[in-house]
Symmetry: C2
Subunit: 327 residues, 2 copies
DNA sequence: ATGAAAGCGCTAACAC
DNA sequence: GTGTTAGCGCTTTCAT
């Protein structure tokens, strides 16, 4: 079922059929109707592959996330998908499973089949990313790279607020559980350090840990051994792991120890007690990055090549005042 | 950078270059090397779109999931991606956000760009699915449909075991929180009903509920009002919602009420207490479905067109013996 | 073992 | 407004 079959049946040229499906307004209403009818009868639909080849663009966007099972990634994907659809692009998702090699492979496989590529918190080398950016328009999130447009979720300030919050509750001994190296961890760490310096606290920094639940379970005992009254975790998964292990050891949260997460994923409201956490605007980041990518692909360059999205401390049940027993 | 550039540089015909990248063994080692060198120097890589058009297959597989943020979907995707890569296919993921229209749209958009399509727990009409299956090889999970190969996660037996487990713990008043209609809910409901009948119990069936955390929060009060001592939820998200609301209302689990989930997602081990749940083999389902799809696409038809994967009750901390106060 | 030539299905100038 | 004519970049007979 090709454009020629439809053309023959409608008694027009293939070009006209093509126009009906690409720029309907340029063909006379009568002809258009005849073509559409013929197409309908033949159950014809344009072949997107052939179309991509001829147009030299695919109408597809690609996104590579570190881990599809991670709900932070999921929020970004959802937002990106919505923006993409809105602009009539299809979005292809692939996951790197946190492996640098996979990430590179996925990105390279995707690159020639899409008009633009969104890399979220990429781990690949600068050189590799630049090479990709030579092949296809690339936008990254949470990664600083010359000449590649980026959307950053800046959390230094909000993480600082978390420290102030703990300080106000009377906490003087605070631990930070670092995540994998990258923009996110740096932003969180620097915000925490700065606030601590301001308040005269000396944080205990542990890690780096993989950004997973199991890391939190493991870290819980280290935190307890460190003798702190409050702990700030790189993300909610780690914080949830802490909660579980604390519960197992009979340590009450927040009475005996306060816990702060990062990301404000769905998990934060699912655990007991609900997590105080730094809300990272994942959906906004996904949407902004996708819009940026689309503008980039289309050539309507807005000039802005870097967005910093602010975060916000959300106070819930996992933080509370220091009690006598805490120390 | 096309095949012709490489051909010119290597002093061979375009056909030879093509062969080097498609069937290397058919070209003399010397020539092959020259071509590869030329390609390297020109940083040439075959254009997958052109290749797809000429070969009339894309080397891509597509998967449509109801909700990318759902960790059950995530497990299936991970397994599918692994199988796909193993067979040298790229996997494109799209989500329907639980909307039937979206599902249909996503599937139709994907269909002409892939060699095969995997639809997980599809909600679309039989007619729509069959239409898709006419365009492209389709495999479904958790959906029964004539002439479309399927992988089913059968849970009637394991859900029955959950009921037996509760019965053995002394529970006589049991509620079931139904999920959205479909194969999964039917399989779970029928297993539950059968076991109850066998044991002389009369379950209170509530719902259907959307398979989300918030549904569980809402359902918790209904469950309490129903006066049961145990509740089986359609999935872990709902069960987690129950746990949270019970905690808020000061109802202790499992001392005052026992909770059973379904799926055995990561969440089941993240909540307090850890969820007793029916393990559904999501990864196995994803892997099996993908293998089936690949065989189907390749034409090596094994004859088997339907797989039923068994589930298993995992006992954890959210179920316990009935106590005097329970009733 | 390699090359020439004819497409794959669609688009895009350019005519008319 | 519509048709003609070249491709888009690669594969694949069919010769040689």
């Amino acid at each position: 079922m090709t454009i020629r079959d439809v053309a023959t049946r409608a008694g027009v040229s293939p070009a006209t059929v093509s126009r009906v499906f690409s720029q309907p307004e340029t063909v006379a209403p009568g002809t258009r109707q005849r073509v559409l009818t013929a197409a309908e009868e033949l159950r014809y639909a344009p072949n997107p592959v052939a179309r991509s080849l001829a147009r030299r663009r695919t109408g597809n966007l690609g996104i590579v996330v570190p881990d599809i099972a991670n709900s932070f990634s999921a929020m970004i994907i959802k937002a990106a998908q919505q923006e993409a659809r809105h602009a009539e692009y299809a979005l292809f998702v692939t996951a790197s499973e946190e492996l640098v090699d996979d990430e590179e492979r996925q990105a390279r496989a995707l690159a020639p089949q899409v008009d633009g590529l969104l890399l979220t918190s990429p781990q690949a080398s600068d050189a590799c990313l630049r090479e990709l950016a030579d092949i296809v328009p690339v936008v990254v999130t949470n990664r600083l790279l010359d000449s590649v447009p980026a959307v950053l979720t800046e959390s230094a300030q909000a993480t600082g607020h978390a420290v102030e919050h703990l300080h106000a509750l009377g906490h003087r001994e605070v631990a930070y559980l670092a995540g994998p190296d990258g923009y996110s961890n740096q932003s969180r760490t620097s915000g925490l350090q700065a606030a601590c310096a301001r308040l005269g606290l000396e944080p205990v920094v542990l890690g780096p840990f993989p950004a997973r639940f199991s890391s939190g379970v493991r870290a819980a005992d280290l935190v307890l051994a460190a003798g702190v009254t409050a702990v700030v975790a790189f993300n909610d998964d780690i914080a949830a792991g802490l909660l579980t292990r604390f519960a197992d050891r009979g340590v009450r949260v927040p009475e005996q120890i306060s816990v702060v997460g990062h990301d404000d994923t769905a998990l934060a409201e699912m655990v007991t007690p609900r997590l105080t956490t730094v809300h990272i605007p994942a959906a906004a980041a996904g949407a902004t990055a996708t819009q940026l990518l689309i503008r980039y692909v289309r050539g309507d360059d807005s000039g802005v090549r870097r967005y910093e999205l602010p975060s916000e401390l959300i106070v819930r049940g996992s933080t509370g005042p220091v009690t006598a027993r805490s120390t």
